[in-house]
Symmetry: C2
Subunit: 337 residues, 2 copies
């Protein structure tokens, strides 16, 4: 079996470290694993399959001999270095927002549009975390009865903003309890015991960039501009695991019983939906979970084609690191790189 | 000016204590204030306008000489004792779910349907907290352009479940930080650093009672069964202040600019909506606030008559205690009791 040289750019971040763990868990056929980060992480050592790997600083010549470069160091790093990696011969799987909406960049969720991978021009984009769990959950319904409209309100964990945000929530919480003063840093306001209807920056149309990502990326992944989508993205004081309250309208009626059967056999989905046993998805369930959890399935009482549901997933794994590794797995199985 | 004898049943709970504070703040014309609770609070002493009031145990003869009885001790206490209070000659303003949907019980939010107060048969019902803030925010829009549909996802604070729940969130949070074990009590699962898509009990149709309250009470208060309403009620680790992500469809188009002007002059509403200054409603803003805060106003990009907004209010004050006292004020100003 062919083995590959993989580079992770942003290896010391939460998503980068999780990529490392997932490559190990899934026995990715590795020849060489290169951990790349900014100068401030240089020399940091990670264990991978019982071997030590030392973090290297990102440079223009970092991508010599790299087959696949997993980028997760933010949009500006991707914009500058992804083209460098591509011209060195690597295929880039980019977790940032930099190329997602480019017409010639495939935006891929393996459960939905794996074939798009083969049309890449060097870069394959990984969607936004809150988009991935939404489309994985909705895909079986979209295929079965069509979806005309999606209205989503999110409950997003601080891990989506990186390790500094996780530290900020814990630190603020401790200080709040001790009645100590604190000053918000990652977020504009206190996040402990609060909720913020504001994720990423505001655009001129009144929506945040996070909300526009959900709207635009969902349409691109389903390859369907006719779906009406509205989104409200909200940060909640949860450490890890994004939740979404999702309302959809389908083209044709489907009963909740049929919906359950459909989702029960769907790829990447785990149905947690038994209200008699108080079973529904929770962020605290997903720490080592790769599936998108779906529950609280119910028909809208005022609209026969309306369905409500509650979707929870691990935003660091399926929402970022795992989805990227899954894309890499499809890439190498078909030996395109 | 006539002065009244007021009784608070459930005086030692969070809502009861807030009623006491609000009666004092608003200089309610009191002759006598009777604080009534269960035996376990008997003898507890409160200060009201610098005078000590000792809590009495609820008995069938507690309502002699009472003009208005404010009930906030849960549905079963209301069911048993509200009729007793009425037959003693008191008017009951009931904060529980016991009588809200009864055809001959007015369900009142003073900003919306104050006139319903005068048709009472002894009991006036105070709506559910998450309903009150929703209808106060939507009333000006309903009157101006009509509302055909409401889809709401809530972010509800633990104070809505009473003092034990506030203690549980704080206690769990401390134990989580110290890595101590804890066992959920008020809620079926951990609430610290988690969100629960489950408030009140589940009904057979898959909705929770809290969700059905929002649906049914909103229709009753607007006196309009044609509005299509769908709700998802979610508990979040916030101490006080309910938030709501609300999507509406109006009969006629209204621009966001016109909407802002409309809400800016509306009763009981405070517009907090300037994304350029990162101004939007937050639960941490509402501790001594009586207004319903509205922000994140924006038209749905996929539906000209669709509007998204974010609504936050103090669930203990406007969502419960204040609304009840406002009803009492209307009652006495018109001298109906």
């Amino acid at each position: 079996m062919k083995k590959y040289n993989i580079g992770i750019v942003g290896a010391t971040g939460m998503v980068g470290e999780t990529m490392l763990r997932i490559l190990e868990e899934r026995n990715f056929p590795l020849n060489q694993l290169k951990l790349i980060a900014s100068t401030k992480s240089e020399g940091k050592v990670y264990l991978f399959a019982n071997k030590k790997i030392t973090v290297e600083t990102l440079k223009r010549d970092s991508f010599q001999d790299i087959d696949i470069a997993l980028f997760t160091a933010g949009g500006s790093v991707s914009k500058e270095y992804a083209p460098v990696a591509v011209s060195s011969g690597a295929v880039v799987i980019d977790n940032s927002n930099a190329f997602r909406m480019d017409a010639d960049t495939p935006l891929v969720v393996p459960e939905i549009n794996p074939n798009k991978i083969y049309s890449h021009n060097g870069i394959i984009a990984n969607p936004n975390c809150s988009t991935i769990q939404l489309v994985v959950a909705l895909k079986p319904i979209y295929d079965e009865v069509g979806i005309t409209r999606i209205i989503v309100s999110t409950y997003q964990a601080v891990s989506g903003s990186g390790r500094k945000a996780v530290d900020e929530l814990m630190d603020q919480t401790k200080k709040y309890i001790r009645k100590d003063e604190f000053k918000p840093d990652v977020y504009p306001y206190q996040i402990a015991f609060n909720v913020l209807p504001h994720i990423d920056v505001f655009e001129n149309n009144g929506y945040t960039k996070e909300e526009m990502k959900i709207i635009n990326e969902t349409k691109k992944i389903f390859d369907d501009n006719s779906i009406k989508i509205s989104a409200t993205a909200v940060r909640v004081p949860v450490l890890n695991g994004h939740s979404e309250s999702v309302y959809i309208e389908t083209k044709r009626y489907i009963s909740v019983e049929k919906l359950r059967k459909l989702l029960d056999k769907a790829k990447g989905v785990l149905l947690v939906d038994d209200i008699n046993k108080l079973q529904y998805p929770l962020p605290i369930m997903i720490n080592n979970c790769d599936d998108v959890l779906i529950g609280r399935l119910r028909n809208d009482l005022s609209n026969i084609n309306g369905i409500n549901m509650w979707i929870v997933a691990n935003n660091i794994r399926k929402g970022a690191a795992l989805n990227a590794v899954q894309i890499a797995e499809i890439l190498i199985n078909r030996d395109v790189c």
